[in-house]
């Protein structure tokens, strides 16, 4: 079982004079139990890739396969869950509970099943159902609204979960909650996280893909990427700050050190060993 995109290409406004090629020759594979991180600057094609993986856009080059069948809007329905970047702007119902239950209801669950599943999903995203279920989705703070939107996706138990910048705009607690939520989701689903910053999910990812100008600039493992921070520059990204400090220090001291994302470990190797002046 896997969601597999092979040498995908996509052009917006294909065949018109406004045609804009957003993706070319990009591959992505994720199986339940895996987390794949897709990095890239604004405009690198990340969101287009997610829309194709969710069956919302049909790739015009390459092959898209979902658990052995052709990936399209129909086969993706109820199997692939997509959390948009501004997830909270998708809320629409009168109450939080109705909003979250909409997905499962639409997939054919009975009202009771849908409400039970919605209640459970609210709990999973850290919102107490008793407090939140009857509130209007439009009276929530940004972070709460984001979590309600995600509960709406979790409620239909997707086998693949795609998240576009899931932590943008969230506070520290919200980001931590979101991170553990997606890591937990990995137990049952294949998770793809798209982000423009590497700091948050790099340590947990099974694989990393970096997009640049619509193409695949790098397909690697987090371990490899951390070990060679210059790779970030080569693909037009900023290295995480902690790596950047180690790299700058190493070049000032002309000494190499084992790179790490962990601040405590980095402090140890920067102060002891790891190259003296």
């Amino acid at each position: 079982m896997s969601l597999s995109l092979v040498s995908i290409g996509y052009t917006y406004g294909r065949g018109t004079s406004f045609g804009m090629r957003a993706l070319h020759d990009v591959s992505l594979e994720v199986a339940p139990g895996e987390l794949v991180l897709v990095l890239g600057a604004t405009g690198s094609g990340k969101s287009t890739l997610l829309r194709i993986a969710a069956g919302l856009l049909r790739a015009d080059e390459g092959e898209a396969v979902l658990d052995g069948v052709s990936l399209d809007r129909g086969s993706a329905r109820g199997v692939v869950g997509l959390i948009f970047q501004d997830a909270e702007s998708q809320l629409f119902a009168d109450t939080v509970l109705e909003d979250v239950a909409f997905g499962p209801r639409n997939m054919g669950a009975s009202r009771e099943e849908a409400l039970a599943s919605a209640t459970e999903s609210l709990r999973a995203v850290g919102l107490d159902p008793a407090t939140f279920k009857d509130r209007s989705p439009f009276s929530l703070s940004g972070g709460e609204a984001r979590r309600v939107a995600i509960a709406g996706v979790l409620a239909f138990h997707p086998r693949y979960l795609l998240a576009d910048e899931p932590t943008a705009g969230l506070d520290a607690k919200g980001r931590r909650a979101m991170r553990s939520l997606l890591l937990e989701a990995r137990a049952k689903a294949g998770v793809v996280v798209v982000s423009h910053g590497a700091e948050e999910f790099l340590a947990d990812a099974d694989r990393v893909i970096v997009l640049s100008g619509g193409g695949c600039a790098l397909s690697s493992t987090p371990r490899e990427l951390v070990a060679t921070p210059s790779m970030f520059d080569r693909v037009g990204l900023r290295a995480p700050d902690v790596l950047e400090v180690q790299r700058l220090a190493a070049s000032r001291r002309s000494a190499d050190m084992p790179y790490t994302l962990d601040p405590a470990e980095a402090a140890r190797s920067l102060t002891h060993g790891g190259g003296q002046r």
């Binding site: 209007s136 009276s139 607690k173 423009h196 402090a267």
Partner: protein
């Protein structure tokens, strides 16, 4: 002042009994969890919302004073999170000119203001560019230029970097610092402690109240309370703390990798 949002039977207090004075030429970072009342505070400051109780005055004019609200909006310019939501024109220069044009200023005054605003945010040379062809960081700097063209006394920004990639983020932060250095007040709402380190004053909101008002450096010392306010040291600030534990003197103001390496290699 206080403010509650009311929908049906629910009334949610968003800002509770807050008193606050922000002077000229201050760079104030407003921190706090999602839902702590930061955005409500921003909307109260320029009269987009009126307080349920208490009052807000800008240069002596109350936001409840309908005759004065125009003057207030001229002296308080707000930039929101999503640059796409606040771009109105089809070219960069027209977009920046939109505000001053609405003030009915003379053509050459408008032209001067547009040129100055674009220079302030580093977008010179892109005057004729269509805004949708700009990068995220450029778009947000365009929104800031539009706000600056009103020559406000206070520039208020509600999480201006949260939708930007790391490169765009640094571009915007550098612009804010330059605006503050030029003598205007900047009120910068953010979740991010390392962004707040650039400010001269930090406010923390928690459940609608202001629970900290002091220097950003002192805020870092309140380690035990940061957690309960849902603030967190970034990996970089954590690294700086760890280095201090190892006896390295790292200035509180060091909030970039280069500044920390400078301290390390001294």
């Amino acid at each position: 002042m206080s403010h509650s949002y009311t929908t049906g039977a629910h009334s949610v207090p968003a800002v509770r009994d807050v008193s606050l004075d922000i002077g000229p030429a201050e760079y104030v970072a407003v921190l706090g969890a999602n839902g702590s009342g930061k955005s409500t505070l921003v909307r109260l400051i320029n009269g987009l919302l009126l307080p349920s109780s208490g009052e807000i005055t800008v240069n002596g004019i109350g936001t409840h004073d309908e005759a004065g609200i125009g003057t207030i909006r001229e002296s308080v310019s707000v930039v929101f999170q999503n640059p796409d939501d606040q771009i109105v024109a089809t070219s960069v220069e027209d977009d920046v000119a939109f505000g001053p044009e609405n003030l009915g200023l003379a053509r050459d005054v408008i032209r001067e203001r547009v040129a100055w605003a674009l220079e302030s945010v580093g977008l010179c040379g892109l005057e004729r560019r269509e805004p949708h062809l700009l990068s995220g960081g450029q778009k947000q700097r365009l929104a800031i230029a539009g706000a600056l063209a009103m020559q406000p006394h206070w520039l208020v920004l509600d999480e201006p970097t949260s939708m930007l990639d790391p490169v765009g983020r640094v571009e915007v932060l550098d612009v804010l610092e330059a605006v503050a250095d030029s003598g205007r007040s900047v009120i910068h709402v953010t979740h991010d402690l390392s962004e707040a380190m650039r400010a001269s004053r930090a406010l923390v909101m928690h459940e609608g109240c202001i629970v900290f008002d002091g220097s950003p450096g002192d805020l870092l010392c309140a380690t035990d309370r940061l957690e309960s306010w849902s603030l967190e040291l970034s990996p970089l600030l954590t690294l700086a703390e760890e280095l201090r534990d190892h006896g390295i003197v790292v200035p509180r103001a060091a909030s970039t990798p280069a500044a920390i390496v400078e301290a390390l290699c001294r």
